[in-house]
C-alpha cells in the first residue's frame, strides 16, 4: 500500500513539475513576445523558450569539476521540491506540509546550490554577479518577510492551504482587499525576486558578462533556465495563494499568476537598471515601509494572540 | 601672438606660420630638448602627439612633435630630422611623461631608438621580427602575400577588389 501511495505521489509530483516548468517556460515566451510588441518588434514565437531549453540540454558544455555539477543540479532541484508543497489551485500534494516559511527556505537552498555551482567555476564575473544577487536578496527578503509575517499574524496559520481556504467566498475575502499595502510591497518584491529590470544587476550582460551564468553553457545553462522558470511559477504561485485567494482550478490559477507576471514584464520593459546598492536601499525604503505599515495595521486590528 | 615666433626666431631657429592658429618650428636634432622645454615654459603645456615621417629619398626620419597652448589658443609643430640609417634621439619623457607611450609606438613602427626611455616594449604588434612595418622600404603587399598566402586565383568565384594604387 505504501509503495502504491508513493508511486501515485511520485507520478503526481512529476506531473506538477512538468506543468510548472511548462507554464514557466510559456510565461517566459509570452513575456518575450510582449516585450517585442512594446518595442514594436514581431518577436519570437511563444514556444521559443521550449526550443531554447531543448537546444541547451542537447548542446555540449564545459564542467569545472564535481562541485560545479553538484551545485548546478542543486540549483534547480530544490525549486522543484519546493513546488511540491505549493497549493496549485485546489490541488496540493502534501496538504499537511504547506508551511510558507519552509517553502521560502527550500527556495533558498536552490540559490545556495546555484551559488556553489557558479562560484566553483572560478570566474570573477560570476563572483561579482553572485555578490550582487545576494545583496539584492538582502534587500527584497526583508519587506517580503514583513508581509509574510503579517499574513501569518492575520490568518493565525502558517499553512498555505489554510490561508487559501480563509479567502474563499468571493473577491471581498481575498487578502488583496484586506491587505492592499502588503500586496503592493510583494508585487515590488516580485520584481526583485525575478531579477527583472530595474533589479537585474546580477545578470547584467554587457557589464559583467551575464554574471553568474558566465561559465554556464549547454545543459548547465538549461538547468539555470529550469530554475528560473520554476521559480517564476513558484513565486507568482505563492503570491496568488497569499493574496488572490488561490483558485478553483488550474487554469484560473495560471491566469492569476499571469496577471501578476504581466505587471512585472511591463515594468521591466520601461525601466533601466539601478545600481546594486541603490536597489538594495530602495527595498529597505518603500517596500519595507509598506510592509511594516501593513504589519502595524494587522496587529492593531488583530490584537494579541492568546498563547 | 606674433612675438612668440620672434622669440623663437631669435633663438636662431626656422619658424613660420602655417595658418592663423598653428606654426611650425624646424629644429636641429641636438636642440630639440631645449626647444621643447622652452616652449613648455612659454605656455605650450599640452603635448598632443608625436609622429614620424619617413623621407626615404633624403634618408631621413622626420619626427613631428605637436604641442598646444591653451592660453594662447595656438598649436606648435616642432619638427626635427634624424638620419635614417642610425635613428637615435633622446627621449622627451622627462618633459612630458606622456611621451613615453608615443615613443614606444614610434620605436615599434619605425625602429627609432629613444635614449632614456625606460619602456620600449612592443606595443601593438605581437611577435614582430621583420623590418618595422611603417618604414617606406617595407613591402606590405609582399609581406601579406607571403604570410597570409593571398593568391588572386584562390577566391572561389569571389573577385578581389582592384588593386588600389
Amino acid at each position: 500500500m505504501v509503495i502504491v501511495e508513493f508511486l501515485i505521489k511520485l507520478s503526481q509530483g512529476f506531473g506538477i513539475g512538468a506543468l510548472a516548468l511548462a507554464t514557466g517556460l510559456l510565461f517566459g515566451g509570452i513575456a518575450r513576445k510582449i516585450m517585442a510588441r512594446i518595442q514594436r518588434r514581431y518577436g519570437p514565437p511563444f514556444t521559443q523558450n521550449f526550443m531554447d531549453l531543448f537546444k541547451l540540454l542537447s548542446k555540449g558544455s564545459v564542467s569545472h569539476g564535481w562541485a560545479f555539477d553538484l551545485g548546478l543540479v542543486a540549483g534547480f532541484v530544490p525549486m522543484l521540491a519546493a513546488l511540491m508543497f505549493l497549493p496549485i489551485g485546489p490541488f496540493t500534494l502534501f496538504p499537511s506540509d504547506s508551511s510558507l516559511i519552509m517553502i521560502v527556505y527550500l527556495m533558498m537552498m536552490a540559490y545556495l546550490g546555484m551559488a556553489m555551482g557558479v562560484l566553483a567555476s572560478g570566474n570573477p564575473n560570476s563572483a561579482i554577479g553572485m555578490s550582487r544577487a545576494l545583496m539584492l536578496m538582502a534587500g527584497y527578503e526583508v519587506p517580503f518577510a514583513a508581509v509574510i509575517f503579517s499574513i501569518y499574524f492575520f490568518s493565525k496559520t502558517g499553512y498555505l492551504t489554510q490561508i487559501v481556504a480563509m479567502q474563499s467566498g468571493g473577491f471581498m475575502n481575498w487578502n488583496i482587499v484586506k491587505m492592499p499595502l502588503g500586496f503592493l510591497a510583494v508585487e515590488i518584491v516580485l520584481q526583485g525576486m525575478l531579477g527583472e529590470k530595474p533589479f537585474d544587476q546580477a545578470i547584467a550582460p554587457a557589464e559583467i558578462a551575464s554574471g553568474p551564468m558566465v561559465e554556464l553553457g549547454g545543459k548547465y545553462l538549461g538547468f539555470g533556465m529550469i530554475q528560473h522558470s520554476v521559480a517564476l511559477f513558484l513565486e507568482t504561485g505563492i503570491i496568488v495563494d497569499l493574496f488572490l485567494g488561490g483558485a478553483p482550478n488550474f487554469w484560473i490559477f495560471i491566469a492569476k499568476q499571469f496577471v501578476l507576471y504581466f505587471v512585472v514584464v511591463l515594468v521591466d520593459a520601461i525601466l533601466p537598471r539601478l545600481r546594486v546598492h541603490e536597489a538594495t536601499s530602495f527595498f529597505w525604503k518603500l517596500p519595507l515601509f509598506l510592509g511594516i505599515l501593513q504589519a502595524v495595521i494587522v496587529i492593531i486590528q488583530g490584537g494579541v494572540l492568546n498563547v | 601672438m606674433a612675438d612668440i615666433l620672434d622669440e623663437i626666431r631669435a633663438m636662431d631657429l626656422k619658424a613660420s606660420w602655417l595658418n592663423d592658429w598653428e606654426f611650425e618650428v624646424i629644429v636641429p636634432k641636438e636642440r630639440i630638448g631645449s626647444v621643447l622645454d622652452y616652449l613648455k615654459s612659454r605656455t605650450f603645456k599640452g603635448f598632443m602627439g608625436l609622429s614620424c615621417v619617413d623621407w626615404i629619398d633624403e634618408g631621413k626620419f622626420e619626427l613631428v612633435y605637436i604641442l598646444q597652448s591653451y592660453d594662447l589658443s595656438l598649436e606648435a609643430i616642432v619638427k626635427t630630422k634624424i638620419p635614417r640609417h642610425r635613428p637615435v634621439i633622446e627621449s622627451m619623457n622627462a618633459i612630458w611623461k606622456l611621451c613615453e607611450v608615443y615613443e614606444r609606438e614610434m620605436h615599434e613602427f619605425f625602429g627609432i631608438e629613444f635614449v632614456g626611455n625606460p619602456n620600449l616594449r612592443p606595443f601593438f604588434l605581437e611577435n614582430w621580427l621583420d623590418t618595422p612595418p611603417l618604414r617606406k622600404d617595407f613591402d606590405t603587399l609582399a609581406f601579406s602575400e607571403e604570410l597570409f598566402e593571398f593568391k588572386e586565383d584562390e577566391t572561389h568565384g569571389i573577385n578581389p577588389p582592384e588593386r588600389i594604387e
Partner: protein
C-alpha cells in the same frame, strides 16, 4: 550519587594528569579525549532528580551546598560532554598550542555550573570556568594578539563576575541563603511588590550572562578572543561555552511568569520584551559586522554571537514555543557551529593563514571538508532538511505569535545577512580559483575525516528526526511549569502556526535530486576543463600573465553594501569600553598614589579594611 561527584572529579583528575604530561602532545590529547569519554560514560548513569548535598562551615555559618540534576542541566551536560568528545577526538591530530588540562578544567567547571544548587558554588565554578578558558586562549597562533584577546576577555569576564557577585550577596543578604531555588522563589514572592528591586538584582546577574554569551552590548570581546584563541579550542569556546550564559538566563527567566497578567507590550512583560530586543539587536549586529570581515575566525565569531542573539530572543519570550525554539536552536547551533569551526580549523591548519581573501578553490584539495562546510552553512542558513531549519522556523513562529513584527523582521534580516556572510566565507575559502601555493595541500587526516562524516551525519539526522531533541526539550519546558508543545512523532516539528514533516521533505528533496541527476545524465555530454580555461573576454591567460590569485574575486565582496550600512558601523561600542578602561586605569593610578611605601599607611589601610569587613559582615549575616 557518586556519579554526580564523578562528573566533577574525573575531569579534574584528567586535568592533573594532562598537566603533568603536557610536554607530550599526543599523550596529553589522548588523556583529554579519554577523560571526556569517561565523563560521558558516567553521565549515561545519571537521571533527572539525582542530588548530592554537603555543607560548608564559614564564619560560623553552615552553608548548604549541593549538586542536583534538572532536565535542563542534563540537556546542557549532554551537549557539552558529547561535543567535547567529538572535539577532543578531532584534536588528537591538531597541532596548536592548546593546553588540554585547561579544557578539562573548563569541563569540570561547566559540569559544576550545570549541577550547582547554590550560588556560591555556581559562582566559584563560573570563575573557574572563566579563568581556565582565559588561560587556554593564551596559546593562540600569534602570541601578542592572543594575549590581547585573552586580556580583553578577562576584563569583560571580571566585570561580569563582579556584577554577579554583588547580585549574589545582595540576594543572600535579603534571604539569608545561597540556594538558587530559595532565592528565585523569594524573588517571585516580592515580584509584584518591588518589581524594580527584582529587576535591579536580576540585571546584575544578566550582565555576567550577557558577557559570557556575547550579547549586545557586551559582544565586543567575542571577535578578538575567538579570532586569537588556539585553533583546537575555538570550536569549544564558540559552540559550547557561549551556551552557559543561556543556562544562566534560564535560571531567572521563570520569574517573568508571575508578570504574565501585568500589562506589558503585546502581551509580553517588559523585561521579556527588552530581552527580546537585546537578542534581536545582537543577531543583526553580529550578522552585519560578519560580512565585513576578512579573517575567517573573526567572521564566525560574529556569526556565533549572532546566533546567540536568536537563542536569547526566543527564550526571552518564555512561552512554550519560544523556549522550545531557543533550546532547539542552541542544540542546532552547537552542531552546525561545531561543523563550521572544525572545518575552518582544518583549513587553517592546512593553509596556515586566516585571511579568507588569500584562500580559494580549496574544494579541489579538501573535498570532504568542503562538503562538511557546505552542510554546516546550509544548516546555519536554516535550509531544510538539515538541522537548523526547524529551530529558525520555530523562532520566527514564536516571535510572530506575539506580534513582534519589528523584531521578527530584524531577525529575518539577520538570517538573510547570515546567508550573505556564509556564502562569502564559502566562496572565499572553498570556491573560486585555487592558488598555486596550495598545490600541495592535502585533505585532513583520517581522524578528522571521521569527525567530519559524523558531523554531516548528525546534521542530517537531527534535521530529519528533530523529535529526538524535541523530546528532552519538552521535558525541560515542562519542568519550567509551561505546557510543552504537542509531539506527534520523531519526524515532526510542531510549530505555533503549522507543523512540518521533515521526513516527507527529505524524501521529496531526495527524489527531486534523483530526478535532477537523471536529467544531468541524459543531457548532452560535458567536457571537463581546468580552472585556467575560463571566460576571459578573449584574452589569453598565459599572454596576460594571469595568475589564479588575480582571477579570484573575494576581497571586499560586499563593497556596495558598505555605503548602505556605513552609518550603522560608525557606532563604536568598542570605543565605549576602551574609554571605560582608560578611566579605570586613571582611577587605579590615583589610588596607587596612596601606596607610597610607607608602612604606617599600609597599617591604617589594613585596619580600615578590617573594620569595613566586620561591619559588612554584621549587615550581611
Amino acid at each position: 550519587m557518586s556519579s554526580l561527584l564523578a562528573l566533577l572529579l574525573v575531569p579534574v583528575t584528567g586535568s592533573i594528569v594532562a598537566a603533568i604530561i603536557q610536554r607530550y602532545r599526543l599523550a596529553e590529547r589522548l588523556v583529554s579525549f579519554s577523560t571526556f569519554v569517561v565523563t560521558l560514560l558516567f553521565l549515561i548513569d545519571i537521571r533527572v532528580g539525582d542530588a548530592f548535598t554537603w555543607s560548608l562551615g564559614f564564619l560560623g555559618k553552615n552553608i548548604e551546598m549541593g549538586l542536583q540534576i534538572t532536565p535542563l542541566s542534563i540537556f546542557m551536560l549532554y551537549m557539552t560532554i558529547a561535543f567535547g568528545v567529538l572535539l577532543t577526538f578531532f584534536d588528537l591530530t591538531e597541532r596548536s598550542k592548546m593546553k588540554s588540562f585547561l579544557l578539562l578544567l573548563t569541563l569540570a567547571a561547566s559540569n559544576w555550573i550545570f549541577m550547582a544548587t547554590d550560588f556560591l558554588s555556581f559562582f566559584f565554578a563560573w570563575e573557574l570556568m572563566g579563568w581556565a578558558s582565559i588561560l587556554a586562549i593564551f596559546g593562540g597562533r600569534r602570541t601578542a594578539e592572543s594575549r590581547h584577546g585573552a586580556l580583553y576577555y578577562a576584563m569583560m569576564s571580571i566585570g561580569g563576575s563582579y556584577s554577579m557577585l554583588i547580585g549574589i550577596f545582595l540576594l543572600s543578604n535579603l534571604t539569608g541563603s545561597f540556594s538558587i531555588q530559595q532565592n528565585v522563589s523569594y524573588l517571585v514572592s516580592i515580584m509584584t511588590v518591588h518589581p524594580w528591586w527584582v529587576l535591579g538584582i536580576v540585571s546584575m546577574f544578566f550582565v555576567a550572562f550577557m558577557v559570557k554569551s556575547g550579547i549586545f552590548p557586551f559582544h565586543t570581546w567575542v571577535p578578538y578572543t575567538y579570532g586569537e584563541s588556539p585553533d583546537g579550542f575555538v570550536p569549544y569556546l564558540s559552540s559550547v561555552m557561549s551556551k552557559y550564559g543561556i543556562y544562566g538566563f534560564l535560571i531567572f527567566l521563570p520569574l517573568t511568569l508571575s508578570l504574565r497578567n501585568v500589562p506589558g507590550v503585546l502581551g509580553l512583560p517588559w523585561p521579556n520584551y527588552t530581552l527580546v530586543w537585546f537578542g534581536s539587536i545582537t543577531a543583526v549586529v553580529g550578522s552585519v559586522l560578519a560580512f565585513m570581515q576578512d579573517d575567517v575566525k573573526k567572521l564566525f565569531a560574529y556569526s556565533s554571537f549572532s546566533n546567540l542573539g536568536f537563542i536569547l530572543a526566543a527564550i526571552a519570550l518564555f512561552t512554550p514555543i519560544g523556549l522550545t525554539a531557543g533550546l532547539f536552536h542552541a542544540f542546532n547551533h552547537l552542531l552546525f557551529n561545531g561543523a563550521i569551526f572544525i572545518t575552518v580549523v582544518a583549513v587553517i591548519s592546512k593553509v596556515g593563514i586566516t585571511r579568507m581573501s588569500e584562500m580559494g578553490g580549496l574544494w579541489q584539495k579538501m573535498p570532504l571538508t568542503f562538503l562538511t562546510f557546505f552542510v554546516g552553512i546550509a544548516s546555519a542558513a536554516g535550509i531544510p532538511p538539515f538541522a537548523g531549519f526547524g529551530s529558525k522556523w520555530m523562532i520566527f513562529q514564536a516571535m510572530i505569535s506575539h506580534g513582534l513584527i519589528f523584531a521578527t523582521v530584524l531577525l529575518f534580516f539577520a538570517s538573510i545577512a547570515s546567508f550573505l556572510y556564509l556564502m562569502r566565507a564559502f566562496h572565499a575559502i572553498f570556491l573560486g580559483q585555487l592558488s598555486h601555493k596550495y598545490d600541495n595541500v592535502k585533505e585532513i587526516s583520517a581522524i578528522g575525516k571521521i569527525t567530519e562524516v559524523f558531523l554531516i551525519g548528525a546534521l542530517i539526522f537531527f534535521g530529519i528526526f528533530p523529535g529526538f531533541i524535541l523530546d528532552p526539550i519538552n521535558s525541560i519546558v515542562g519542568s519550567f511549569g509551561l505546557k510543552p508543545l504537542p509531539t506527534s512523532g520523531y519526524e515532526y516539528i510542531n510549530g505555533f502556526f503549522s507543523s512540518v514533516n521533515m521526513v516527507s521533505i527529505f524524501i521529496v528533496v531526495i527524489v527531486a535530486f534523483i530526478f535532477g541527476f537523471l536529467l544531468f545524465a541524459v543531457s548532452a555530454k560535458h567536457k571537463k576543463v581546468p580552472q585556467e580555461d575560463n571566460y576571459t573576454a578573449g584574452q589569453i591567460p598565459k599572454d596576460w600573465n594571469l595568475t589564479p590569485e588575480m582571477y579570484q574575486f573575494s576581497y571586499d565582496f560586499y563593497e556596495p553594501m558598505d555605503k548602505e550600512i556605513a552609518p550603522f558601523l560608525k557606532i563604536k561600542i568598542d570605543g565605549f569600553f576602551k574609554g571605560f578602561g582608560d578611566s579605570v586605569e586613571y582611577l587605579g593610578s590615583s589610588i596607587k598614589e596612596i601606596f607610597t611605601g610607607n608602612v604606617q599607611i599600609y597599617t591604617y589601610l589594613a585596619i580600615g579594611g578590617l573594620v569595613i569587613f566586620v561591619i559588612a559582615g554584621w549587615i550581611v549575616w
